[in-house]
C-alpha cells in the first residue's frame, strides 16, 4: 500500500473505531425560519437599510433610468476605465468611459489599472444585506469583481430574497458554480477593533437597485 493510501485507510479506521458503539445522532430538526413571510416591499426596504448600515452606496431607479444612473455614478467617482463582463448589456456602459470587456481574459495588471467594475448579480439577501455572485449572467469571472477598487453592482428588485435559507435554496440548483457572497465593502477591525472600510477587495461598493414591475405591483397592492 502506498503512503497516501495508508494514511487514508488509517484515518478512516480510526474514525470507525472512535464512533463504534456511539449512539445514533438525533434527527436534524430544521424548525428555524425557511421563508421570509414579509411583503416584498418590506424586504426591499430592509435590504436598502442593511446596505447603508455597512456603508455601501445605494440608489433606486426605474429600468429606464438605469443607464443614466450608471453614467452618473462613473462620473461622480471619476471612472475612466470601467471593467465589464462580456455579457453586460451595451446600453449599461456609459459612452464617455473606456470599457474594458473581459473578452480574452483581461490581465491582472489591466484589472488593477482600472477604476471600477460593473456587474449584475445572481441574487441578493435582504436580512444580511448580501449580494451573491455565481459567475452567471452579467457577473463574469471572480477576479473582475475583486481587483478593481470600486464595484458598481446592478440588482433587480425581484432578485432580492428575504433570508439566508432562501438564498441557499436558490443557489443549490447549481452549487458547483464559483459563488461569492458580498456584504459590504471589504473591511478590517484588526487594529484596536476600529473598523476600516476597504482593504483588499473593492474599497467602495455602489449598489443600483432597479425597480422591477413585479415588486412595483406588489407594493401597489398594499
Amino acid at each position: 500500500m502506498s503512503a497516501a493510501a495508508a494514511a487514508k485507510s488509517a484515518i478512516l479506521r480510526a474514525v470507525q473505531d472512535a464512533v463504534a458503539g456511539a449512539p445514533d445522532a438525533a434527527p436534524i430538526s430544521r424548525d428555524y425560519s425557511q421563508r421570509d413571510e414579509r411583503s416584498h416591499t418590506t424586504v426591499i426596504e430592509e435590504f436598502i437599510d442593511r446596505l447603508q448600515d455597512y456603508k455601501a452606496h445605494v440608489e433606486r431607479v426605474e429600468v429606464r433610468g438605469l443607464s443614466s444612473c450608471i453614467a452618473d455614478a462613473c462620473n461622480r467617482y471619476g471612472v475612466q476605465r470601467l471593467v465589464a463582463p462580456v455579457d453586460v448589456p451595451p446600453e449599461w456602459t456609459p459612452s464617455e468611459v473606456e470599457v474594458l470587456r473581459d473578452v480574452a481574459q483581461l490581465s491582472l495588471a489591466e484589472l488593477d489599472g482600472s477604476d471600477a467594475v460593473l456587474t449584475g448579480c445572481a441574487l441578493a439577501i435582504a436580512q444580511t444585506g448580501t449580494i451573491v455572485l455565481d459567475g452567471g449572467a452579467r457577473q463574469g469571472r471572480r477576479a473582475l469583481s475583486l481587483v478593481p477598487d470600486r464595484h458598481i453592482c446592478v440588482v433587480f428588485e425581484d432578485q432580492v430574497l428575504g433570508i439566508v435559507p432562501e438564498g441557499i435554496a436558490r443557489l443549490s440548483a447549481s452549487p458547483e458554480r464559483p459563488i461569492t457572497f458580498i456584504s459590504g465593502p471589504s473591511a478590517t477591525s484588526d487594529i484596536e477593533l476600529s473598523r476600516v472600510e476597504g482593504v483588499h477587495g473593492p474599497r467602495m461598493l455602489h449598489v443600483i437597485l432597479v425597480e422591477s414591475p413585479l415588486a412595483y405591483s406588489e407594493g401597489k397592492l398594499e
Binding site: I11, I168, P185
Partner: protein
C-alpha cells in the same frame, strides 16, 4: 486506535497556565486592549443574535448537523473526496502535522514556486506549516492584516479571530515603519495602517503562483469548500493564483449544501458580531476560466480521531472556530491568549488542546476556567464546555494517582461530610485554626498542599457561629419545638 503516530512522550509539554498567567496579568497594556476588544465584540454579538427570533432553533440545528456528521464521519469524508475529485480537485489525507506539511511542501515545490500567499488559517498554525515551508526554502506570506502584523513582529497569535488584539496602533505603526513601509511617513490611524498593508500585499497577490488556505466548511454532497472572511485577502488568494491548496481538519465537513443555510447564519453573528461577514467564497473543484487551475484539499486528522473517541469530549469537534467563547470568558478577557500556550486559546482551547495533544502535555488547561458556563450559553453549536472541562479534570485527577494531595484531601473531606459529628468537630477546629490565615476578612493563602488551590482563589472565613450552632441556641432559648 489513534491515527496519530507523531504523538508521544518526547513532545514538549505546554507551559503551566497558572505560571504563564502571571506574565499576562502583569501587562497592563495587554489588559486594557483585551478589555476593550472583548467588551466590544461581546456587545456586537449580543445585538445581532437578539435580532434573530429563531436563534435557538439555528443553534439546535447546528449542533445536530455536526453530531450527524461526526457519527458518520468516515462516510462523509469519502463522499467529500469523491465529489471534490469529480469537480477536478485532488484530495490528500494526512494523519498528523508532519504528513500534512510534507504533502503541502511537495505540492508547492511541484509548481516551482518559492513563495506562497496564505489566508488566515488556525489549522495551518496548528501544524506549524510556515516553519515547515521555511525549512525547505519556501516563504509563506500571511495576508490577513492581523496575521501579517504578528508575522512581521515574530509573535504568536493571542486571539482566534483578531490575532493582534494585544497590540495597539502605535506599536503597529512602529512595526510597519521597520518592515513593510520603511521610509514612509506613516500615521497611526487604522485607515493609514490598513492602506500600507494593502499596498504591500497587493503586489504579493498579483504575483503569487500558489495560495494556501484553511476552510470553514466543506460540503460532502457537492464537494463545495468555503472560506468566510472580511478583508478580501481570502478572495485574492482563492481566486488569483494558479494553484490553491486548502488544509482542513476532518471535522469541518458538512453533509449537504443546504446545511450552509445554518452555518452561514451562526458563524458571522457569533464571530464578528455581524449579520454577515463582508466576503464568503464557495468553490467546487476547479472552474475553467475562473480562478485556480489546480485545487488540492488536504484532510487532516492530527489528534481529531482521539477527540472523537471520547463520548463526552467528542462534542468539542462541533466547534466552528467563531471565538464567541473567548470573548465572553472572564478568564480569557483578563489573561489573553498567550497564557494558554496553545494555538487554540480561551474556553475552547482549554478543552480542545488537551484532547488534541494528549492530556499529559496540557494538564493545567482544563483548570483555566471558573466553570461559570457563559461559554456554553454563547456557543453556536452548543458545546457544553463546562462538562468537557470537568471530564478532563477528572482524567487529570485519576492519572495523578490516589496519593496526590488533591485526591487525599477529597477523601478526607468525604469522610468529614459523611458524619455530623466529624463535620462539627472539623468546623470547630477550622474556626480556631483559620485565625492564622485570615487577612482583611478573607483567606488568600492556605498552608501546605492546599496552597496551590488558594493561589488564584480567596476563601471566605468560617463565620463565628455556624447555622447548626445558631439553630441549637435558638431552640434552647425558645424552649424547644
Amino acid at each position: 486506535m489513534a491515527a496519530t503516530p507523531a504523538r508521544g512522550r518526547s513532545l514538549p509539554v505546554l507551559p503551566a497556565f497558572p505560571k504563564a498567567v502571571k506574565i499576562a496579568l502583569a501587562d497592563t497594556q495587554l489588559r486594557r486592549n483585551l478589555a476593550k476588544a472583548t467588551t466590544t465584540i461581546r456587545a456586537k454579538r449580543a445585538r445581532v443574535v437578539e435580532e434573530l427570533a429563531d436563534w435557538e432553533e439555528l443553534r439546535a440545528a447546528g449542533a445536530a448537523i455536526k453530531d450527524e456528521t461526526l457519527r458518520h464521519l468516515d462516510h462523509y469524508l469519502l463522499q467529500l473526496e469523491e465529489a471534490v475529485t469529480r469537480a477536478g480537485g485532488r484530495v490528500h489525507w494526512a494523519r498528523n502535522a508532519v504528513e500534512a506539511n510534507t504533502i503541502i511542501a511537495r505540492l508547492v515545490r511541484d509548481t516551482g514556486a518559492e513563495r506562497v500567499v496564505k489566508v488566515k488559517s488556525l489549522t495551518t498554525d496548528e501544524i506549524r506549516l510556515n516553519d515547515a515551508l521555511a525549512s525547505v526554502g519556501i516563504t509563506a506570506v500571511e495576508t490577513d492584516l492581523a496575521e501579517l502584523i504578528i508575522q512581521l513582529a515574530h509573535e504568536p497569535s493571542s486571539h482566534i479571530l483578531v490575532p493582534a488584539i494585544h497590540k495597539n496602533r502605535s506599536e503597529i505603526r512602529d512595526l510597519f515603519r521597520r518592515t513593510i513601509a520603511t521610509g514612509q511617513d506613516l500615521s497611526d490611524e487604522p485607515k493609514a495602517l490598513a492602506g500600507a498593508a494593502r499596498a504591500y500585499l497587493r503586489k504579493q497577490f498579483l504575483s503569487a503562483q500558489v495560495a494556501i488556505s484553511g476552510a470553514n466548511v466543506a460540503v460532502a454532497e457537492t464537494g463545495t469548500v468555503g472560506v468566510v472572511e472580511s478583508e478580501g485577502n481570502g478572495r485574492m488568494c482563492l481566486t488569483l493564483p494558479r494553484t490553491l491548496i486548502t488544509v482542513m481538519g476532518i471535522e469541518k465537513v458538512l453533509p449537504t449544501f443546504r446545511d450552509l443555510e445554518v452555518f452561514l447564519q451562526l458563524l458571522p453573528r457569533s464571530s464578528t458580531g455581524e449579520r454577515m461577514n463582508p466576503y464568503t467564497s464557495l468553490w467546487t473543484g476547479v472552474t475553467p476560466g475562473d480562478g485556480p487551475e489546480a485545487f488540492h484539499l488536504v484532510l487532516l486528522d492530527n489528534g481529531r480521531t482521539n477527540v472523537l473517541a471520547d463520548e463526552v469530549g467528542r462534542q468539542t469537534l462541533r466547534c466552528i472556530r467563531c471565538s464567541a467563547c473567548l470573548n465572553i470568558c472572564p478568564v480569557y478577557a483578563r489573561t489573553g491568549g498567550h497564557a494558554y500556550g496553545s494555538v487554540y486559546p480561551g474556553p475552547i482551547g482549554a478543552i480542545l488542546t488537551p484532547q488534541l495533544l494528549g492530556l499529559e502535555r496540557a494538564k493545567t488547561l482544563p483548570y483555566a476556567s471558573s466553570l461559570c458556563g457563559a461559554c456554553y450559553e454563547v456557543c453556536p453549536v452548543k458545546i457544553n464546555i463546562p462538562d468537557v472541562l470537568l471530564r478532563l479534570r477528572g482524567q487529570v485527577g485519576a492519572s495523578a494517582g490516589q496519593w496526590n494531595p488533591e485526591a487525599m484531601t477529597m477523601r478526607q473531606l468525604a469522610a468529614i461530610f459523611s458524619s455530623p459529628t466529624r463535620y462539627e468537630r472539623a468546623q470547630r477546629m477550622a474556626r480556631y485554626g483559620q485565625r492564622l490565615f485570615v487577612r482583611d476578612g478573607v483567606i488568600n493563602r492556605l498552608p501546605g498542599p492546599l496552597s496551590g488551590w488558594s493561589q488564584a482563589r480567596d476563601l471566605q472565613p468560617l463565620p463565628a457561629q455556624s447555622f447548626r450552632d445558631w439553630w441549637r441556641e435558638r431552640r434552647q432559648k425558645t424552649g424547644g419545638a
